[in-house]
């Protein structure tokens, strides 16, 4: 019998929570090493509100931050900001990343407990510095998790965009709140997405919200209905227009965290059957796979990504 070697399988790409951004990687490494002066230096140097929010989002992937940052945060609003933003991610980890109907009572208990920590830290931050837009943006998320009335989330969203009109994280969080699965409705979400896109100029990633809204609408349906929705000609046209105004626009900048927007379009185009558009986006992404939005699909996000890419690129 002849022994045949199996063809070497290509290693699967890995999800990098820092999305290939060197500053975010250094920031997360510093937090992992409990090296607050270094982490603080990186955060303090990150001025752009969207970059700052991205950096704070990435810190959610670092394990054990809550074990040591409390005493540091007592005297340092920046540490308190990291503590609050990290606690938001920490809360969602407790919730198991599943939709509410699948979540057990004790998971919810821990979820709320951590959200209360996040809420109180972030309120400490804004009481010292109301212009800390990232804190307002993350507070939109805690409002959603704590099931506060919509008026509270809207207040926080307004506070954020009064200070930075096109703040991506604030828009994304508020649109999530307006989803049917949280406290809003599909019409409301689409309306907001279009409104936000109109606020963003050419090349702004705010146009991505239109695609995200379609993905949300798709995941609210199941089976045939989901496929039918995302494949509708008007939806496909919307996706192309949104991509043309954001990721494909010549004025678009690849700021830290850019892969998530490309991945959003890759998923949306793949699901809608617009293979040429999907192929173009996959080419641009390379191996920069992001957990979101691939986690929306059942199963492993990396496999969903590689399968979709294999289907599109052949």
């Amino acid at each position: 019998m002849r022994l045949r070697r199996r063809p070497a399988e290509q290693p699967l790409p890995e999800i990098d929570p820092c999305m290939g951004d060197p500053a975010a990687r250094l920031f997360c490494d510093a937090l992992t090493d409990r090296d607050w002066p270094t982490a603080r230096g990186i955060l303090a140097r990150t001025d752009h509100p969207d970059d700052r929010a991205f950096l704070l989002e990435t810190c959610g992937s670092v394990f054990g931050v809550q074990n040591w940052i409390g005493p540091v945060a007592a005297d340092d609003p920046l540490a308190q900001l990291v503590r609050g933003c990290h606690a938001v991610a920490w809360a969602w980890q407790a919730r198991g990343g599943l939709r509410a109907t699948y979540t057990q009572a004790d998971q919810f208990r821990v979820f709320f407990e951590r959200l209360r920590i996040a809420e109180s830290c972030l309120y400490d931050v804004i009481s010292c510095d109301p212009d800390e837009v990232a804190a307002w943006a993350f507070l939109i998320r805690t409002a959603r998790g704590l099931e506060l009335p919509l008026a509270d989330g809207e207040f926080r969203f307004r506070q954020a965009i009064e200070r930075h009109r096109t703040h991506l994280r604030a828009h994304e969080e508020w649109m999530q709140t307006l989803c049917a699965k949280w406290a809003g409705s599909e019409e409301w979400m689409h309306h907001f997405a279009r409104d936000a896109a109109a606020r963003g100029g050419d090349g702004s990633m705010l146009h991505t919200l239109v695609a995200l809204a379609h993905l949300e609408a798709m995941t609210d349906r199941s089976g045939e209905a989901a496929t039918h929705y995302i494949s509708r000609p008007d939806v496909r046209q919307d996706l192309r227009t949104a991509a043309g105004l954001s990721i494909w626009h010549p004025a678009a900048e690849r700021r830290p965290g850019w892969p998530v927007y490309f991945n959003t379009f890759a998923l949306a185009f793949s699901a809608s059957g617009d293979l040429p558009a999907a192929a173009a986006v996959f080419e641009q992404i390379g191996d920069n796979i992001t957990a979101y939005p691939w986690g929306y699909l059942p199963g492993d996000p990396v496999k969903s990504f590689t399968n979709a890419r294999a289907t599109v690129l052949g």
């Binding site: 919810f108 709320f112 209360r116 809420e119 109180s120 309120y123 704590l146 506060l148 509270d152």
Partner: protein, 557 residues
């Protein structure tokens, strides 16, 4: 206005504040001693002393009154100057050398008064916030009425009614012949209020069909403006808006020199209870996030200013001064100061006060309203660490009732199938002792461990151990309880029998032994031949029963 209108002098070493006024002379002799200075076993002693001091002094010509708050005691009189002079002289003499011949009578009067008094929402909030000491004592019954004895009361009067701890407020010039013959002694400034260690913002189960929100914040004009705004907003949101509430109320309690606990609440209709926490906290959040409506705040402040400027100053300014000076704070010398402070309050100040309140928020609500995720719901004491070593007691209903009581050298530990609590003797605020042996060991945080001799085997020995371990000064002997309130085990002998019969693993081997015994003594040879088979079968039943029981999780009846 603009001139200093508060006058002050000193009589017999006691600061005296007064303002020129017309009409009947009113006097209040204030002392810096209040409920927060008592302990659980002496809770109510100042009230008792106040009653004893005023006993027989009231008259139509010169009505008298007394008051004990968290931080102060006061003795008030109004009448002609001579009557006021006579009252103050006599009451000071009594306070300097108290006479306890009326002790039993006043103790009975106050017990009767205490029995008719229900718990207040503010008292409950003080209790949950501060436990069984300091300001939290306001939430407890006057247990000291059962411990009061002449020597202890005399010692309390010695420091509480000392000259340095007193201040007199008068609504007119000091009358001729005024004397305040108190014993010498220093002023006792209040210690900072120490809240229990618990997660905040939090909620607890309170009175039915009601909600109350409280927080301890720094004293300021903005804080009082915020409290009025909160009360108005609750009234507007819940009563006028949602139509689910009755009248909103608020209270402002000084808990130490610089802080006050602010409480606002409302009674609500039963149907609204499940959502009332969300609605009420939304009202406070609005105030925290956006502040009050500027026009409404201005109207509110103007109304306050009208009150300050329209009320005769001799009716309130000296009294305010006496209260503040005893707290070690400067006296307000003119209404202009208060007017200026009130005028300076901004929307931002009120918003910040609301944020401070939020950061220290405690919410009480009808049991059906508990559970809102914004709050940590306080249900019981923090889970104790390791179980102490000591003598162990089993429940009377054992093995049907699960549980264990351990009484050790340094503390007591109590546990049932689903709860456990412990108390270290050195963290006890008091121990309530009933003649039937029932004991309640109340911790400083207000949680307690109860020992009922009727519920534990050799329960009276458990009680004796507790009594020998706890300092006698913490003991609060209460009168006999009626038999219906003494808890008893509901487990009957038949329940225990059923418990064992449901466990064949226990009785089958016993039966086998009996059977073998019978066979060996009376059976014929043939039966004896069959006996081993019976033994094997019986053992098999026993083993099968054992494993079935284990598979079923060994559930108790």
């Amino acid at each position: 206005m603009g001139s200093t209108v508060l006058r002050s002098t000193e009589v017999d070493g006691v600061p005296v504040f007064w303002a020129p006024g017309d009409g009947v002379l009113r006097a209040s002799l204030w002392f810096r001693a209040g409920m927060a200075d008592e302990s659980l076993p002496t809770r109510g002693w100042l009230h008792l002393l106040e009653h004893l001091a005023l006993h027989g002094r009231d008259s139509i010509r010169a009505p008298v009154n007394g008051h004990v708050s968290l931080l102060h005691s006061s003795f008030d009189v109004e009448g002609e100057p001579d009557d006021v002079v006579a009252f103050l002289r006599d009451v000071c003499r009594w306070l300097a050398t108290p006479d306890f011949s009326d002790l039993e009578h006043e103790r009975r009067v106050l017990r009767a008064e205490s029995a008719t008094r229900g718990s207040s929402a503010t008292g409950n909030h003080l209790l949950w916030r501060y436990g069984a000491r300091g300001a939290g004592l306001a939430g407890y019954d006057e247990l000291g009425l059962y411990t009061a004895e002449a020597d202890g009361l005399r010692e309390l009067a010695g420091w509480a009614y000392a000259r340095g701890n007193a201040a007199l407020a008068l609504s007119g010039p000091p009358p001729a012949g005024l004397q305040l013959p108190l014993r010498p002694g220093p002023r006792r400034l209040p210690t900072p209020a120490r809240p229990c260690d618990q997660p905040i913002p939090a909620g607890f189960v309170g009175r039915p069909d009601a909600i109350a929100l409280s927080g301890t914040i720094g004293r300021s004009t903005a804080a009082t403006a915020m409290l009025r705004a909160l009360e108005r907003d609750l009234q507007r949101g819940l009563r006028h808006g949602a139509g689910v509430g009755y009248s909103a109320w608020s209270s402002y309690e000084l808990v130490d020199a610089d802080h006050a606990m602010l409480t606002a609440g409302m009674d609500v209709i039963s149907e609204a209870v499940p959502t009332v926490v969300a609605q009420s906290t939304a009202v406070l959040r609005r105030l925290r996030d956006s502040g009050p409506d500027p026009a409404e705040l201005r109207d509110d402040l103007n109304q306050q200013i009208r009150q300050i400027t329209s009320r005769p100053i001799d009716h309130w300014l000296p009294f305010l001064a006496a209260r503040e000076v005893l707290l070690g704070r400067p006296a307000t010398t003119s209404p202009d100061e208060l007017v200026a402070e009130t005028e300076a309050v901004t929307v931002g100040d009120v918003r910040r006060a609301a944020l401070d309140l939020w950061r220290d928020l405690l919410v009480s609500v009808d049991p059906a309203g508990a559970g809102d995720p914004q709050l940590t719901w306080l249900g019981g004491p923090p889970t104790p660490g390791s179980q102490p070593s000591g003598r162990r007691f089993r429940p009377v209903g054992s093995p049907v009732t699960k549980g264990e009581l351990t009484i050790g050298q340094s503390g007591i530990h109590w546990q049932t199938a689903d709860a456990r609590t412990s108390a270290q003797y050195d963290e006890l605020a008091g121990v309530i002792a009933y003649p039937d042996g029932g004991r309640q060991l109340i911790r400083h945080d207000g949680y307690q461990v109860t020992v009922e001799p009727t519920m534990w085997r050799q329960g009276q020995q458990a009680v004796a151990l507790v009594d020998s371990a706890v300092p006698p000064s913490l003991r609060i002997p209460l009168p006999e309880r009626t038999p219906d309130v003494i808890p008893r085990s509901s487990v009957r002998t038949i329940d225990k029998l059923r418990y064992w019969t449901n466990r064949p693993v226990v009785w089958v081997p016993f039966l086998v032994v009996c059977l073998v015994g019978v066979v060996l003594t009376v059976a014929t040879d043939e039966i004896a031949e069959q006996a081993p088979k019976f033994v094997v079968m019986s053992l098999a039943i026993g083993v099968i029963s054992y494993f079935r029981q284990r598979r079923n999780g060994g559930t108790d009846t």
